[in-house]
Symmetry: C2
Subunit: 398 residues, 2 copies
């Protein structure tokens, strides 16, 4: 009866959200979600921030500027400076989660049929956003050191792409789903490629602060000052969702003024402004120093959970599963050594009340059917142990 | 250097937001904004609602369902029932302001070059959203009884449109900018046209509860049950921005399940979910009955402000300005009888510290250069008196 746009004629929703129904199963242990741990939210710090924000009722309750309220923009530039990536408030746009930043960028710069490069395996919502925009997605493989920049260079120089690529999407630090971190050498090489071939690097960095081992690496945006001509070609996204709380829906993007200005125009018609109330709470939270006080607790807890998961996988499933220990973030990426299909084993796991996300959700092509993503963020330590034992029982069937 | 999509090569921002810089002028009295009155926000009721919401930290702080948190969806269906427009939670999608609902609908249903009908003069962000989507916008005139449905019928039957129209955008009750309300007779006629010609009626209803005189009219969605075949063709948008607070960024849309389902898929890639924290506050606010207790205060205050503005216009500018008294909402739409250009008079007004929005902002074509929009919502009663006197001084120059 209705005439929908082609991409929406028979749309499929998020493959991960499709798994949600099993979460309601009593006793289910889930390694599936990309959710941060609810019990690690800084309730006290956020309640105090909310109380201070509510003393500024007009700021919280009235419409706000499309690019974000000034006090939050200032706090976010301070946070970026502490991360070694200084930027000005004029280079920064507050978004309704960093998800919105990518959507705004696509609107402004990418048309149907344009070539967009994406690391693979990749964050599913990125693949979905590109699919709905009818973009020509070209994937670049990832290994334990992140994006395979040599493969990207070969691709760019082979001249086989239908058009020059508009942008490349990557999560260089503690990637979703692989947990991998792009090496310094590759970061520099990637920036050189962007400067030479004039494509935007979309650096999505929601997890970078969640490092529990090894030394921090500078972001691509930070390193771009060392690679002539590359700074203009980096668009940096980040978010408070994984380090404070997703419910704030506070993300931000840092980009060249010409790009940012157009994203602001797009945002005027998309949602006018992100909630100034949650922006004000976020600003108060950051200004109080609560993030620096509380974040180590989240990192310590994730370090323990990650070690528990990896140790349990080694102990109980060492023969069946291959994986790398991540140095931060929320995810362990694994392969079934026996070549089993992860989707089939998921069914057996769900029967035993344990869940993960089969790797297929993270691929556009060249799917590794044996792959799976395990998130250690949400379940408790005891649950992680039990969950791996249940997986062992399920895998014993295959 | 960068290659933007054509609509974003040289984008112009909101013409109203361009006026913001003058608001900082000391002593400025503004009839320009579309903002509700900050001093009428129900601070007490919202603080109490926020306190109750914060007792549910996981609900507020974690990711929420893309279609909205269940408790808010339930409260919004109750609100729709009280408005005489019952709907089910399955027909309702919570959006980040109702602005987002229109954007999602365009994504799902409207492609560049499609014909979209818009009442004119119209809400500028609607015109801007359509322009950025490169839509073929066809305008339908409005008079003091709202959309000229006879003109629309003639247009549809003339066969002159490049394609069958996908949708018609209208604010049938206390329109922005005209303040006009579509008569019952026209509402029925419009529904019949939609059922016959198979275009969606986008009924944007942010102001309908703000009636201070006359009897309420049923919404198009409510009336659609009386016009066979029309219910499927009504998409209804509403919002808490004008009746509670814009800072919540809580809007909603009610539509056929096939449309709604696709808007949810689009929203997954747009912002994943609207802030569950402000959703929870809104749900607590609605559940407490605070809206019913507080809304009469807003309506009474707007009634006084509207009467003050209209009386002052009659008294001081009766010879210079023609207008109709609205029965609700936030706006008075006027014409300069002497044929002066409203943009020119605005410059003289800004020098005398009073502002309005020149009508040009609300037109795509056939611009009435003598028109202007005056909002009585934000300024105080004494300011309204003074503002009109300043306008008189400015107009005396022309």
């Amino acid at each position: 009866m209705f005439k929908f746009n082609p991409a929406f004629e028979a749309p499929t929703g998020s493959p991960i959200r499709e798994l949600f129904k099993y979460l309601a199963q009593p006793g289910m242990i889930s390694f599936a979600g990309g959710y941060p741990a609810s019990d690690l939210f800084d309730r006290e710090g956020l309640d105090a921030a909310a109380a201070r924000a509510s003393q500024q009722p007009t700021l919280c309750l009235q419409y706000g500027p499309t690019d974000g309220i000034a006090v939050l923009k200032e706090q976010l530039t301070h946070l970026m400076t502490r991360r070694g990536t200084p930027c000005t408030p004029q280079e920064l746009l507050v978004t309704t989660g960093s998800q919105q930043g990518f959507d705004l960028l696509l609107r402004v710069m990418v048309a149907p049929g344009d070539v967009v490069l994406v690391e693979q395996p990749a964050y599913p919502a990125t693949l979905q956003a590109l699919k709905l925009q009818e973009v020509d997605v070209v994937t670049v493989p990832v290994d334990q050191d992140g994006l395979d920049v040599a493969a990207l260079a070969a691709l760019l120089e082979a001249g086989t792409l239908a058009r020059p690529p508009k942008l490349l999407y990557t999560v260089p630090t503690f990637a979703n789903p692989t947990g991998a971190t792009l090496s310094l050498e590759r970061r520099m090489a990637l920036l050189k490629l962007a400067a030479r071939h004039h494509f935007l690097i979309v650096e999505d960095d929601p997890y970078g602060d969640l490092r529990f081992s090894g030394a921090a690496l500078p972001s691509l945006l930070a390193l771009s000052d060392q690679v002539p001509g590359s700074r203009d070609w980096v668009v940096h996204f980040s978010s408070l969702s994984k380090i404070v709380a997703p419910g704030l829906r506070v993300g931000w993007m840092v980009a060249h003024a010409e790009i940012l200005r157009r994203c602001v125009v797009a945002k005027q018609t998309v949602d006018l402004c992100s909630s100034p109330w949650t922006q004000a709470i976020a600003a108060e939270y950051l200004a109080s120093g609560a993030l620096e006080r509380h974040l180590p607790k989240i990192i310590d807890a994730y370090a323990v959970k990650c070690r528990t998961l990896c140790d349990a996988l080694d102990e109980h499933l060492g023969d069946a599963i291959a994986f790398h220990r991540p140095a931060g973030g929320m995810f362990v990426w694994a392969q079934l050594k026996g070549g089993q299909n992860a989707s089939d084993t998921l069914c057996a796991c769900i029967e035993r009340n344990v869940m993960f996300v089969p790797g297929v959700a993270f691929y556009k092509d060249n799917i590794d059917l044996t792959a799976l993503r395990l998130s250690f963020a949400a379940p408790g330590v005891a649950e992680i142990e039990t969950g791996v034992q249940r997986m062992k029982q399920a895998l014993a069937l295959f």
